[in-house]
Symmetry: D2
């Protein structure tokens, strides 16, 4: 037998790029976490330690910072496309570059003072190949914590001898959503597209009745795809953040009832629902999701 | 020699209490992390394992949830006072109860749908003693991430043979603030007081020129105390979240400059500035800060 | 256009199963983090909220705990196979069940007292399908932090106009390794196989000269495959945990040199090297790596 | 009214100092997390931004790294004493320096290869004042996770109307221990002292019957003090890491019992037991515990 090198990639993860635009007294801030990787024909590096075709991860880091100035950050997708193209051009042995970005939002306090907003984080995963067919853009968000305090049920489920869960007509439904959606074009108004998709997710969650988290995700995904014709698909990873009704029955306190009012928020275990909704005429994804962490 | 039992306390930490108020179709949500502890004469429990004077931490947990309903949560301070008084009453051997609360804010999406806001967290530490003098309320916040992209300098500092830091007239100043302020009364409009203090912190940070984080904290503290006469003091723990200007000098790229535009946000090490600002006629703190984690 | 449901799975993540074997005064402990998921024909749940084919995640949790007793935990692979088969049998609509386990090791202090070992964590990902071809076992480990204080170089690499990294003949090489290897059989002595693979990884790392992390991973992977003929492949995700030599040149201290003696351990960014080594006659992986988080 | 500056301190937190001793082919590694702070008369810095008496935190960082070479790290206590004395000497306005260190242990794989051990972390907090009376050494450990699978009961406790906990003769007792003990001298064999104290903690935990975590901590503390006459006191912060017996009663499975065999390890809430054991003739602590995070 012999061993062969299989898939491989290398890069610099979690470059914390902060860009201040200060052309006027009213500054702007973009606050990113940027990870880059290169794939291709790097057998020599693995087999004999020959680094002659390897653009160092340190150089990838330098390029991420330089491009925050040279190209600018009108949107994370636009920045990631430019950065990925540059890395691919600089590395002849590479067949593709992947750039992942998370963006942290800030609220303005003044001309040049800001407070970090917290809450959900905007993301993208951009893959750039040697030809246009190999270029893919996923936009998305993570850490979007949503909760419905009613209009959520869970009943009529399959039972076996280990089933003890009671059916319920009214429960808290909560999740910390990760979503990524795939574009079919690269000439998109990325910021407008993102704002529309996020708004679709929020409004659908808020206005729909939920028979299960699966149904709610399906509705949310369909709404996002329905709103933007150029989107091919959307994928979700959604922990079911359980909120258990506290049982007051054992308490010796007159009139202490709990009609969906007091819950304990649990950490672990949690349900984990993952699903993909696609347009029925979506073009194939190619390598758009290759090596993307999490549900694919 | 002999050993003696010294200070001690016990309780239940991190009860995740979620309270839904659903008296009308427009629900309200309060989302808390509640920790309780009891202090007093518990030598028997330590010396011989005699639990007869020990109210179990499990009961403390149950009480925290029951009081979310029985007393309600008009503010975290009011809730913590009620809960502390109850625990003290239920435990004859205790001389004091301390209740710590963190509150996570939610934004409304609809009548009964919410998204978690993220960002800073409101906190309180309430100590209840056997008499009114032993009752103390600290209000505060944590995880308030602030940044100034200019109007911050650091120069004129003491130097020794290990000093290599360059002086600067213009840098990013950023911190993730923890602040706690001590009330001298318990008949306060807690929510209004909190809103005023938080606003003072933000506006002072935004509008002041900074010669060092120490000076900025001092201004912020003075502003909070100046706005509310019943406050005795405020204490800060403020990591200096360093943003280092990226050095483009080694790059072989024409015209690539960095005039305060591209920074790398560093994780560790970080400066850590801690300070207290007091009213000069403040009454003594008693046990208000006893066993409060962090800077005291 | 219409939207269609794509890939999906659901389950219960991070069940913290602790099993004490106490048949004799000398107790044994197994401490697991168990995640289960089911895949298959669950369109009705997503499209109309019909749960009649959905075995609740709560039941999956109950089964994970029940099987810790009914089947026992001779190894995490054996336990996961039994649990996956059970979940698949209980859910007619499912086509596959995946069970992921992390195991935390404990050191013995006495007959029934233990201290948690810390360090690396043993893992497995088991996929059970409706026929034997659909059953796959990945074994692995994570959080294995390794460091070489010499015998590591990095030089001869590709350079461009953003390259500033100096070449070096001697550096610290450190990583926090995640590795997973794929078995081709299910009648394996899982504990012996794991011990052998882990030992191969450690000894190869310790004894090899490193021209780059890529080369070292390749050697480690080849060693593991060389030691066990039934293994098909191994995959690595290896952050390059940078240790930067501290520059004492700016210090005004006579004779203060740094010949590879004092380093600062950096958090972010970090290099991230990911690679796969396969036997050249390995059978195809099927769904063994489907939806496995991280590098695939 | 006027506001006054109260207590304050500043420094550099979490310097990740890695020291390789390579005088022979058999290398040694010391891996530290070092935090320094200075206290004293720094009013000008707070009031007017005057930094002329402020040794920058960047210089404190540089000194921490330089002293890893100039002084060396025979033990973290010895290193911290030297570093604190140096910082105090370099800063005339300071009245005290505090140095906190955590040390991560590594296991040897070869002459110059290591794997990080994980598990508990050795710590110290050293305060250096202007005279010898102001110098204090606390040694300790954290993240020491201990578990007893029997010989632990909890019963006979105080009950009120919110008490629902059942009494038990047999439960799992588990904690993730933080302990710090105060020395009365500075001419101690720090490594031998630490090894003895840690062994006392482990053996007492392993061999004692527990009526409550309070009792067990008291025994452990007394054992440590009993073993080393120069120790004045020891303080513990001990989360009660609950392991709940899984209830199989609702399962429709013949003969499925749970006699202390299957537990769910819970995250939150957790009991938190904090206590101090002192020698009855211990000298007063002075500022030894000032601003030490956690239970004091």
């Amino acid at each position: 037998m012999a061993t062969v090198l299989g898939a491989n990639q290398y890069g610099k993860a979690e470059n914390r790029v902060v860009r201040i635009v200060r052309d006027t007294p009213r500054h702007e801030i973009r606050d990113l976490n940027v990870s880059t990787s290169l794939r291709g024909e790097f057998t020599a590096a693995h087999a004999t330690g020959d680094q002659s075709q390897v653009l160092p991860t340190d150089t990838q880091k330098n390029t991420a910072f330089a491009y925050a100035k040279l190209h600018g950050i009108s949107s994370i997708e636009d920045y990631a496309l430019a950065l990925g193209r540059r890395l691919l051009k600089a590395t002849p042995a590479a067949t593709a570059a992947q750039v992942r970005v998370e963006e942290y939002a800030w609220d303005r306090l003044g001309q040049h003072a800001f407070s970090r907003r917290g809450g959900d984080v905007r993301t993208c995963v951009v893959t750039v190949g040697r030809d246009e067919d190999g270029t893919h853009v996923l936009s998305g968000l993570q850490d979007l914590v949503l909760l419905k305090s009613t209009d959520s049920e869970f009943k009529g489920f399959l039972k076996d001898e280990f089933t003890t869960l009671a059916e319920t007509d009214d429960r808290i439904l909560a999740t910390s959503l990760i979503a990524k959606w795939r574009h079919t074009r690269t000439d998109v108004d990325w910021n407008a597209s993102y704002a529309d998709a996020r708004e679709c997710l929020l409004s659908t969650f808020a206005t729909s009745y939920s028979r299960a988290l699966q149904e709610t995700l399906h509705l949310m995904g369909s709404a996002v795809l329905g709103g933007q014709q150029e989107l091919a698909e959307i994928r979700f990873s959604a922990p079911n953040k359980h909120h258990f009704l506290v049982d007051f029955n054992g308490f010796d306190a007159d009139g202490l009832t709990n009609d969906g009012e007091v819950f304990i928020a649990a950490d672990r275990p949690y349900g984990l629902i993952e699903a993909q909704v696609s347009r029925d005429d979506a073009p194939p994804p190619g390598d758009a999701w290759l090596h993307v962490p999490g549900f694919v």
